[in-house]
Amino acid sequence: MYEDEKTQQNLHAFKPQLEKMSNKGVALIVFLLLVIGFGMYALYTQIVDGHIVTGMRDNVVWGLYIVNFIFFIGISYAGALISGILHLLRVPWRTPIIRMAEMITVISTMIGPSYILLCIGRLDRLPNLVLFGRIQSPIIWDVIAITTYLSGSIIFLYLAMIRDLAILRDNPVKTARWRNPIYRFMAVRYKETTKQKELLNVATDLLSIVIIPLAILVHSVLAWIFGMTLRPGWHSTIFAPYFVIAAVYSGTGVLIMVMWVFRKIYHLESQITKIHFNYLGIIMIILGAMYGYFTFSEYLTSWYGSIKWDMDVLYRLFNPGEYWHLFVFAVFIGVLLPIIIVTVPKFRNINSIAFAACVAVLALWVKRYLIIIPTLETPLLPIHDLRPEYVHYSATWVEWALTFAGIALFILLFYLFSKFIPIIPVVRTGEEKDYSRLRKIVFEKQMKKVIRQHKKSDAVIAGIVLLFILVSVPRAMSQDENRVQPMLKLEYFHVDSSQILTATLQAKVEGRFISLPGMEIVFKFICNGTETLLGKEITNGKGRATVAIPEETLATGGDKGLYSFEASFAGNDRYDAASVTATMKPLRLELSFFQKEGEKMVNLKALEPGPGNQWIPAENLDVVFYVPRTFSLLKVGQASIVNGQTSLEFPTSIPGNHLGYLTLTAKVEENEIYGNVEVSGTINWGKPLPPVNTIKRGLGDTNAPLWMVYTLIVLLSLVWFHYMYVIFTVLRIRHLGKS
């Protein structure tokens, strides 16, 4: 198997890489581990102390973590799009770089989402995403899309490795032999029989077809996290394609950097040649130009429309005191420099292209920073928190430590991976020759893109420097030692059939009335000179104490139909004693409803005790009609009692319950003779409440809109069906290998 000269040569060249680890390599690993360890310490701090240790605050709720998240997911495009497309088009020069591209994808898709985790306040509650996940939330889309994408990339990488695994199985490594059984297992008995070869090719093709739209979707979903909010600078319809282009741009950049590095450390000069750098460089600047075009379009549109909030963000970006320099780097230098380096033949060489890629990648990291931070620093309503960290975001050491830890982890995984499997596919299938003509069609296009940047006239707004000075003024709390004379108020309430006395105890302290809670009030009923104790009650938080007047008490009668009550407070070491009496005449109110000439009316009768135990009409009395509402009584009318009665039109426009039942209360309030008397009645003459809506399916509801559910199911099953099919194919390859 694979006896061709090229493959053997490759094997010969790469085997030592897998078997030996140079001192420099060990040193690198140790260094990377240290960086990661420091990151872990930072993470520990963050978990113990909370997110207060980061630079994130209520306005800038997302910081470096999200920037890194977008960045890593962005560079994962290298594998998905570059290698997917190159594979499908059978681009002949792709072979040496395709594995690196796929590795970038897998590794960065693993690291990227961990940044989202760092950003989450309650890691312990992650299971809630599964338990209570709402598919209306772009975060859930992201979770689903990224896991699907990661699975796909791993399978894709694996498929492309099978041939090399087979050759390693047949030529076992001599150090770290534990790897050999793994190679054997993973090689799935692949022996390059015609059938197996065919199956493998079909599976790879299939997956590269699936992975391309999937990759586009993943980054679109990521962009929608921002695009779906009503924030200036985010709420843009082109955000998804913009993110996709920026991602491929950075992915290509990282691929070029990785190529350059491995070319140096593993001496791959014969494999990775200037051709690769040139071609990838061209791809990169095409993407760069598109990214520039999107950027231009995005900012031109919002500047031209000049909505207030959009302008606020633009001013920040164009303000030399704030983000202008970063903006110039991310947008002008990050696009123009790579284009100049790659297009001008004089500048174009391997090192300079790698440098251009480096600039592009950095610029795109900065661009992500400029997408996230200035927008969050510019909420629709101004920030009034004077603490500087609430106004301006600046990342803390914790965030930087974790950022570098992520980069270190990326390099570490890459390095370790290159010790496990050759960084360049060893097996050459020879197919590249068949397709060389495609190269002409795809990559020999000439393109020129002139990007004109509109001039921004003095977009300078003076930055506000905020100083926060904490001055605590200790206030001498002087205790008033003087005794206070409290005030006691006694009210009589007659509500429907029950009668109540309420006493309110207040005192004027430092010019303000305060209620006195927890004091004992003694209530008495005074009749013909004899006192009857009604009860002793403690005042509540509002200084109020209440006692019910038993029916029997009143039955004993009063002087001339008058009743007297007394409330008294015995006083304590701070407050003097107080007492108050009130004399009342009973009043009977009767509420009834009637209809006259189709009009709905309320009738109120008022009766007072007359001679000979008779109830006679009361006179000179003002009553107010109310409708009780949740918190208070809504006044609907008032009337004077004439000849013991009055009537009022029923307020039919006021909502009652679902059946229209509405309660009406008539009150005589703080009357000198009668005290407070009220009576209520209920009838279904109010405006009925409309029926409650049944379960809704909307973005804000618990249940998702059906189209969303269906779309998700269709998309997911499409993709996973393909994955399953590919896995099934691998199993068949294994099965075929038995014979």
Binding site: G121, L129, T546, L634, K635, G700
Partner: protein, 315 residues
């Protein structure tokens, strides 16, 4: 304890608490049904109106005084639709509402659920103070984006947060266009007693590290038939609160018909163009009771300078 409260607030129109309607539907069996709910007797009675228009009297403890559990709190008070009307003509940036709010919810000084802005729409216009709680949007961007349904819209219009479910992704904070949400960046510094109290999304207390908080429209108070603290703390009666389904709002002293108030005073909702459909209505600052400069009282120089810059007020 035989007395019964005459407190007019207790006189409730219909099933004030979640489930009360259901309980009452059990006919004359109300009290026995209530005792199943294992709630405490408070001795205080309140009246409820059954859907059939019958008045029943139940113990307050049975229906209102238990903090609602996390699941119960998602329901919303039946048949209610809470709204707030803020009268900008009467606001002088006294910030008593915020103090009341912070006291009631045991918030640390920097955690502000009500924020104050000095707005001036353009230089020809005159500045006015603008207090802003959570607007309890009817099409709430914050609720749409929550991945776990930890922030939710109830049938009574209130947008709440379940701090036991929130994963702290802060997406809702990024999504809220009104900056209404705040994050518990560190372990909230609380009295021991507060920390130990049973959590309820309706009281938003005790707050939890790594989760989001905001103005909750005080559903726990509504259950008791009491007004939120901001309404009662405002010395100028700026805040009106009430149930739109009852067509009544009150600022503690005056009770007015909601529909009449917003019609006669030409109320508007803030940034209606965003499509968020807030539940908070603003009455324009016409015929103002105070000069805006009164509002600078008690502010630090930095704060005043900041407000002035934002309102484009030149010295």
């Amino acid at each position: 304890m035989k007395h019964r409260s005459s407190n007019r607030r207790n006189f409730l129109r219909i099933g004030i608490a979640a489930g009360a309607t259901a309980l009452i539907a059990g006919g004359g069996n109300v009290l026995s049904a209530l005792s199943v709910a294992e709630s405490k007797e408070t001795g205080e009675k309140m009246k409820l109106l059954t859907p059939e228009g019958k008045l029943v009297e139940v113990d307050k403890g049975h229906v209102c005084c238990q903090p609602a559990g996390n699941l119960e709190a998602r329901q919303g008070l039946p048949d209610k639709k809470m709204v707030m009307v803020i009268d900008l003509a009467k606001c002088r940036n006294a910030r008593k509402c915020l103090q009341g709010c912070q006291k009631m919810h045991f918030l640390p000084p920097h955690m502000e659920w009500i924020k104050f802005y000095l707005l001036r729409d353009s230089e020809e216009m005159s500045p006015y103070w603008f207090p802003k709680p959570c607007l309890h949007c009817n099409n709430p961007p914050c609720v749409k984006v929550c991945p776990v349904g930890a922030t939710f819209k109830r049938t009574d219009g209130i947008v709440l947060i379940d701090n036991d479910r929130c994963i702290g992704c802060k997406f809702c904070m990024a999504a809220c266009p009104y900056s209404s949400r705040v994050f518990n960046w560190e372990e909230p510094k609380m009295d021991k007693g507060v920390n130990k109290a049973a959590y309820s999304p309706e009281t938003s207390s005790p707050p939890k590290i790594g989760t989001v908080s905001k103005c909750d429209f005080c559903p726990d108070m509504v259950r008791k038939g009491e007004l939120p603290s901001c309404v009662t703390s405002c010395p100028n009666g700026v805040y009106y609160y009430g149930d739109k389904n009852e067509d009544a709002v009150t600022n503690g002293t005056d009770t007015v018909r909601f529909s009449e108030l917003i019609e006669s005073r030409a109320a508007y909702r803030y940034m209606e163009e965003l499509g968020t459909e807030p539940s908070v209505y603003y009455l324009p600052a016409v015929d103002r009771a105070f000069n805006y400069e009164v509002g600078f009282e008690g502010l630090s120089d930095e704060e005043i300078a900041l407000y002035k810059t934002e309102a484009k007020i030149k010295e």
